[in-house]
Each structure stands twice: as C-alpha cells, then as structure tokens.
Symmetry: C2
Subunit: 353 residues, 2 copies
C-alpha cells in the first residue's frame, strides 16, 4: 500500500515503523512547523526528535510537496497535534474523494456552544466541504503508545476507532505487526473521549509529585506520596467512566486500554505529567507554560474545554459538576488560577461505587 | 477508644498513626515472628522496620501478653499477613464475644475444593467456634496505602468493607483523620477480591521491567517498555472486573480505589513488582523466591490459589479460562514453570470491551 503521514512530529513519524515493516510505501509530509525535521530526514534519513534513522520505504516531503505525496495513497495518517486539526481538514479538503480514509493520532476534544464535546475527527470533518463530509472515513488511534517506544519496535497495544468499522479493520490490517497490536471499535466517540480525558487526569496525578517535592520530598523514613497519586489515578478512571456514560461511549474503555492503560503510560513521564508536577510545586499555570515553552499542552487544552462544557452540561441536566470533583479541581487550578487544594473527601462518592 | 493491633509488621503498625492522632489508646501486639520488633518498641519506642518512633498512646506487647492487651478493647486490627490468618482466628477465638469487631489489613483469597474464592475475613471466621462465628463483624481494609506513607501521615484513601455496614462505619469513625480518608462498603467480598487480585497483576506488570532489563535496557533513543506495562495494567483491570462480575462483587471497584488505584500503587515498587521484575529477567519462580528470601509473596500465593480455582470454575461453567489470559500467563510462569511469553493478541477480547 501507499500511505501518507501528514505531520512529522514524534507520534506521526513513529507510525512509519510498523507500516515500513509491513512493506508499505510511506510518504512522510511535514507541516510548516516541521521544516527542519523534513530537511534533516531528506539529507540523512535521521529524525532528530525521535533520535533514530527512519526505516526503509519512507520518503520525506515538505508541505509544499503535498500534492505529489498524496497522489494515489490508500489512506492517510494525520500526525498533526490538536491545535492543527482544523488546518489539517482544510489542507486535505481539496484532495479527498468519497471512500477515502484518514486516521488521526491526535487526542483532544472541543466543546461546542451547547457544551457538547466534539472529538477531533469530527472537528476535522467540519472543515470538509459538504460534498465530501459524510463520504470519508475519519478514524482515530487510541491507547497507551509512547512514540519513541513504537519507533523502537517495543510491544504496544492500541485501538483503531472508526464509525465505519470496515475502514478501521482495513487500516488495522496495514499496521499490525508482531509488536504493534491493534484492536478495532466503531465507538470512536468513546475511544477518543477516554484518551483525551486521560491527558488531563495525568496532569492531575502528576500534581502529587510536585506536592511531594514542594513539601520537603521523600521523608527520613523513605515515604513518597504514591498513596495520593494512586487515589488521584483511581478518581481519574472513575470520572472517565462517568463522562463515557453520559456521552454514550463504551464505559468499559475506562478500565481498558484507552482509559486506565493510557492514563498509566501518560503518568510515566512526558508533558502532561510534568505540567502537573509544576502545578503541584505551586507554580501558576502561566508560570508552568513559560517553563515548558514550545510544548503543546494537550492536557491543559482539554481542561479548558471541560471548563466551557461542564456548566453547560449541568444547565442541561446532563451531569452534576460535583460528580467530577477532580476535573473541577483541575479547572480551578488551570483556568481559575486557584492554588492546589485536594478535596479528597469529595472523591469516590457512593452514588457511583 | 481502646484498640488492639495484632501483628507488628509495617502495615499493622502503621495503622496506629491515625488511631493515635484521634486520641485512642493503642495496644500493639507482636506475633511470635515480631519478637525483635516488640523488644525494640518496648526499649525505645522505635519501630525498626518502619524506621520511625511510634506515635504516642501506643503500648507494645509480646504475644504472650495478649490476654492483657485484648482486655476491654473496642475493636481489633489484624495486621497479620495472609499466611497467618488461620493462626489469627485461633488466637482470637478464646477472647471474642458476640458483637466484637475485627478489621484486617491482609489481602488474599483461598480457593476451596469447589474452586470458590474465599476472602480472608471468611477464612478467619472459619477458625472461630460455632457459638461465636456469625456473631462477630469481620471487616477488611482495601485500597492504595503503602504502610510507610501512612506512618508518615501522607494523604491516603481506603475502603473499610464489612458485611455489617454499621461495624465498618464505627471503625471508620475511629480512624478518619485529615490525611486518612475512609469510605465504607458492605461489599467486603468485592473489595477483598479486587485488592487480592491486584497483587498478582502488579507482579504481571512488573514483568515488563524485567523483560526490558534482560533485553538490553533502555535503548539508544531512550525507549523504555512503558507501552507494554500499560497494556498489562489495562488487562489486569479488565480481569479484575471479570472476576468481580462472576463472584457478584461491585464491578466498579475494578476502576476505583481497590482495583486500578491499588494496582497503581503496587506497581510503584515493593515485593509484588520486584517478583515480576525477576521473572521478567528470566529467573524461575523458585530462583526469584530465593533472591527475595524472607518476604511473604502474597502475589504468588494469589496466583497459586487461582491455579486451583480456575479449572474448577471452568468445569462449573462459571468462567472460561481464555477470558483470563493474563492470569493464565502468571499461572504458567509461577505454577507451571514455563518461561515468560506474552500472548498479547489474546488480551482485550471483543467479548468484553
């Protein structure tokens, strides 16, 4: 097969390993932000952010060369981050034909004016012309998969979600190797809800690390704050289950790969955790953003969308904000600028356990 | 109140902190294995395994002094490990009266000859004389709580479970502080099932660490095996949910404090994780046991009980072993002496997601 990857960041580029191992022809197209990466890839085949030589069968393209890169492809991988989803829709619109398939690695949701949470494949769809909008399959990848490990051909397990299950099955077939294990679901809404929410909750769990360091660190007898982190982790899973329930997603995702699994891997480090650590140390969100300059903070973007959505969902009697005390805490810190304060006794309310 | 703690190991002893902070009188009784600890506590008030001075209001007792220690207590905390549950029942039997309450910190289950999984409070109950058996409240503590952190007065969230909910509420009232948060449930069977299973699955998740180190460690580009660990974590949550479902426990525990939360904290280190790491490095269970001499491996005991229970439950058409591929993998390694082999494609079967 011929596959175009749009976006040459770490995750988009990492998907070229299983595709290459399956003998496909891969065209890696950088966005206007990826110019230096593509230049490097063209010159030496070395991906500077993944710190690896690209696998065989990968041809790098600048965004200006997209017309050539997209010609005759079997499907497209969108490796653009959540800020670039609308741009991606606009960029692909001229080329898409009925029956085309796009699978996105991006995680996030957008609150619409009524408080409905739109998953990113639907945001992308909204940028397509009416003539094509409902005739393309827009899929998403969700599950615990650190890009550097996928590029290192480490064992990874993910879901491909698409309203049109056969499109997910088609692309899963192109991707599956003995190290990249793919399950499929037509519940792309549930899948994307879980994996978008988990970024926010990973920031929440990371707060425990920051609170530990700002309160003197590990004590003389060797005590960390793992108990607190674990309680936050559990409440994150519970709130993911609640959101899945109220948005009609598969609630089992909360304790499967897209929920507990993806939250677990996100808590092992990375941007979302680090943001939490900085907040736990007492920095404001603005101070943390400055310290992490250049990073896309998808966790914070998710919290901001939830800050918009929750009051509207509550006004429509779809949920009670008190059922989401951990998300409310994150909103208070990130959006309302309040200091970190755990109201643990509001967690694990009996109504839901 | 007056409270006796039987067992002066780290977890039993750690429960004296919230009790002391609430002004109760605590009698800490060592078992015959705790002689050196109690001697130390009597001489200097220092608990050598917790590496801390005991809080005020704690009086240490040798097991030979139990008659004095148990006199007039409001309830008993059993801090004995899973190997000592029957001993505890026998030891307490002469002193228990109708209405008495015992809360245990021990996690584990025993398979009976039909494959039913008995939780440890019921194993303890089976050692009591018929005249008292059904007239005492036997409760259990479950949830993510590392002993050293509780003794360090770190934030911790747990459940107290008891068939007689009022007994759980009574003891929760004695324990609750601004750092020790207690929820209550009458589903002690579900609570104990989740927290017992999580030890086994923490060993399973730990295997990823061992496989990483035996296969050359972190690679040149910095890739760990967190994706694999996260997939194992998710499958552990799914299998906890399945066992809860088939034993009539609250399935929400799988992604709450007793399931995902307690599994998360257990994966942060400790005996169950270390056992997994050694197995992942290629050591046999017997070699791992030797290397960890002196430690009670509750994770392995749980796997052995599941090895007894699963075929019998399958014969009774209560479950299909293929629905528990992660537990079957642990049984193959720990009980059947087979090498580590991940059959990840058997995980996340669609029947259940």
């Amino acid at each position: 097969m011929k596959i175009m990857i749009l976006g040459a960041g770490v995750m988009g580029s990492a998907t070229s390993w299983p595709l290459s191992d399956n003998g496909h022809e891969i065209r890696l197209v950088g966005t206007h932000l990826d110019h230096a990466i593509i230049q490097n890839c063209k010159e030496s085949g070395y991906h500077p952010r993944l710190k690896r030589q690209l696998p065989k069968n990968v041809t790098p393209f600048y965004i200006e060369e997209i017309e050539k890169a997209i010609d005759g492809v079997d499907f497209i991988v969108s490796g653009v981050n959540s800020m670039g989803v609308r741009w991606t829709g606009q960029k692909l619109a001229p080329y898409l034909k009925p029956g085309d398939k796009v699978i996105a690695i991006t995680k996030g949701m957008e609150a619409d004016p009524e408080g409905n949470l739109l998953i990113l494949p639907e945001v992308l769809r909204s940028e397509l012309p009416d003539s094509i909008k409902d005739k393309v399959s827009l899929a998403a990848i969700g599950g615990p998969c650190i890009a550097g490990e996928l590029a290192g051909q480490r064992q990874s397990c993910v879901y491909f979600g698409c309203r049109e299950l056969e499109a997910a099955l088609f692309m899963a077939g192109a991707f599956r190797t003995d190290y990249y294990h793919v399950w499929t679901t037509n519940d792309v809404q549930g899948l994307e809800t879980a994996v978008a929410m988990k970024n926010a909750y990973a920031t929440g769990v990371g707060i425990a690390t920051g609170v530990l360091s700002s309160s003197g660190g590990v004590d003389g007898a060797g005590a960390y704050m793992h108990n607190l982190a674990a309680a936050l982790f559990a409440q994150g899973c519970i709130e993911m289950q609640r959101i899945l329930e109220l948005t009609g997603g598969n609630t089992a995702f909360a304790f499967g790969l897209p929920g507990a699994g993806d939250l677990f891997v996100t808590c092992q480090g990375g941007r979302s955790s680090l943001l939490g650590k900085l907040l736990g140390e007492g920095k404001t969100y603005q101070q943390a953003v400055k310290l992490m300059e250049g990073e896309t903070l998808e966790a914070a973007l998710m919290v901001m969308q939830m800050a918009k959505a929750l009051p509207k969902l509550e006004a429509r009697s779809i949920l009670i904000t008190q059922q989401m005390p951990f998300m409310q805490m994150l909103i208070d810190i990130i959006v309302n600028g309040k200091p970190v304060k755990f109201l643990l006794d509001q967690f694990f309310t009996d109504c839901c356990i």
